[in-house]
Amino acid sequence: MTRKTTRWLTALGSAIAATALLAGCVSTSGEAQQAKSGPDASGPLILQSRFTDAEKGGLDKLVKDFNAKGEGQVKVNTIPTTTFNQQLPSYLTAKNPPDVYTWYAGQATRDFADQNLLLDLSSVWKDHGSDFPSSLKSLSQDSSGKQVFVPTGYYWWGVYYFKSDFQKLGITPPKTWDEFLADAAKIKGQGVTPFTAGLSDNAWLASAWFDYLDLRINGADFHLKLLSGKEKYDSPQVRKVMAAFKQVLPYFDPAVLGTTQNQAMSDFSQGKVAMYLLGAWAQPSVPADKQSDLGFFQFPTIDPSVPVAEEGPTDGFIASVKTDKPNLTKKFLDYVASPQAQTDLAASQQGTYLPANSKASLNLDALSKQGKDMLQSAKQVTQFYNRDAGDAQQTPADTALTSFIAHPENLDQILKDWDAASAKIRATS
């Protein structure tokens, strides 16, 4: 081959490559998002589940019972939780996506609904809507008002402690912020660390403190507006929240930023730490012999004029709009919404899960009952930072809160950076 021919071939090759480049770009846009009408395709319903092996017992029973009813077959794919969270956008935008998914309510679902990726489940709600509290109904809606989410259960957050430790320290669960701080001082004075958190590998735990302080000081409405970007972090309201956080910082384990969750839980179980703001999911990680000693109290009120709001993260199911078995999907989700199914699901969660369907039969232990009462008496229920704001917003929150814990004097810069990072993510995603 002559040099000239070689050069021509190279040029041609580059042109082809460029075309491939442009052609490649096309694959980023989703394919037509229309719900399928007409009869279902054959084959089992694919359910992508993020339940871990320890939790999936209830789901397996649910699926078995549904399959036995003869209306159709459901096949469960259990995917590791972190993998599931990462891959869910890919699953939903794939050419042949799985039909049904376990997921949670809030912005996390609305993000997908806004892109027309979710199946309209209003028919399921029409049949069962009365069984669910009305707050859950609005939670399950997308921005156009149709339901896209079937809730299965929710759990609570509280300040956990060991009853025998409190007795030893001479503390009773506080109801107000001042009592809370006084108790912390008393505990610290006796050589026990009042608070800890496993922030070195689970920085998002700090958001629990932020959420509750914001809910107690500014109320749920402001909190939700803040998380959806309608209010700024660099605002007088958030400054009040951070001031309150600063009050409680001296009572944290000084090494909290370097403590793993595993370490934090064992410190708590051993009595080196007195209190831990946790979700109910943490109850199983307490050693069996200390389970009966475990208790929790509601996060104390700061401003009595602010209506009490609680965090009640809700889990449930969503379905892909591209499913080729919409009828079977709706039948399955119909079953999922029924009291029997909801009872089954809750039963496998070791008492940390409250079924969403109010008609589900409950076998509540003392802590679950306390959690249920707490959530039902709350005026408003929010979901938790990442579920309300969207997963993408969690990282700037982690950065801001951990920076604040390390250097509270940098508050101005921290809040400015938080606003900038949050806005940037909203713009690019």
């Binding site: 480049l21 490649g24 980023t28 956008p89 070195s200 090494a255 930023l257 370097g258 950065t399």
Partner: protein, 282 residues
């Protein structure tokens, strides 16, 4: 005959190059993975260089390359020199050093995390020998977290480097070493003036591999600290991952990936051009 080269090349072209073009083209878009993509030209790149987190990650990656790369190189060479001859017990020592590579990261990260806990093994040992002032909150202190993670990463890498060097040392001509010894050269002189020059090509391979591994280091950092506390252990690779799958900004993540790629190419190309032109002379 051309098929010998063409078939593997085509396989790589389809499996790697074509997706790579798409990946690169992603960097000129804003895309969250589920909605339509918006073309934004070079905005992602412009944003990158004014992004304080990116600049921190760049700085941390540079520190990582120097420390992780440098110590792996020196320590790997050291243990290779130590364990190069086939004497009794050496197989066990080599295996002990290579075993970290075979064990999954999730659990080893947990163990290293426990090692660095405020009341973990390291601090307890320091206290016991009276060095209490040296104890730190290793993973929580932004000035020590990166170095703590580097220690864990080194634990995995040194064995691999050792194997590469043992391979190189085994190919050396022992007669040259012996001649130098007879001439009265000390061990250090023998090492520096006889062994090292002969190892030149091995050194280049190891350095390139270390640069590549440094730029790709992701798992151990992510498992131990997720890039925290507040980005003090953020590397280019972890930042790329968190923007892609945490912040759902795939276009931005692709831009970071392109930067990593360009950095890797810049380093490797100089080595390759030199190595390959040497061969032309050979």
């Amino acid at each position: 005959m051309f098929a010998l080269v063409l078939v593997p090349f085509l396989v790589e072209a389809v499996g790697v190059f074509w997706p790579a073009f798409q990946g690169i083209s992603l960097s000129f878009l804003h895309w969250n993975g589920i909605g339509p993509a918006t073309p934004v030209g070079v905005k992602n790149y412009v944003d990158l260089f004014s992004d304080p987190i990116f600049l921190t990650a760049l700085k941390n990656t540079a520190i990582w390359i120097v420390l992780f790369g440098g110590i792996s190189f020196a320590a790997g060479l050291g243990v290779a020199l130590l364990f190069q001859s086939e004497r009794r017990g050496v197989g066990i020592y080599r295996t002990a050093l290579f075993l970290p590579i075979v064990f999954s990261l999730v659990v080893t990260a947990l163990i290293w995390g426990a090692f660095f806990q405020p009341n973990g093994v390291l601090n307890n040992v320091l206290d016991a020998v009276g060095l209490h002032s040296w104890t730190h909150v290793w993973l929580g202190d932004s000035s020590t977290a990166l170095y703590a993670v580097i220690v864990a990463a080194l634990w995995r890498e040194i064995g691999y480097v050792m194997v590469l060097f043992i391979a190189g040392l085994k190919a050396l001509d022992p007669a040259v070493q012996e001649a130098a010894r007879v001439d009265g050269a000390t061990a250090w002189q023998r090492f520096w003036h006889v062994t090292m020059p002969q190892l030149r090509s091995v050194n280049l391979v190891v350095l390139s591999v270390l640069i590549i591994d440094s730029l790709r280091s992701f798992d151990i950092v992510w498992a131990m600290t997720r890039g925290g506390p507040y980005h003090s252990t953020e590397l280019l690779s972890t930042y790329m991952f968190s923007t892609a799958f945490g912040s759902h900004a795939l276009g931005y993540a692709s831009a970071i990936a392109v930067v990593i790629f360009v950095l890797a190419i810049a380093v490797i190309v100089s080595y390759l051009v030199r190595a390959l032109s040497e061969e032309k002379e050979a």
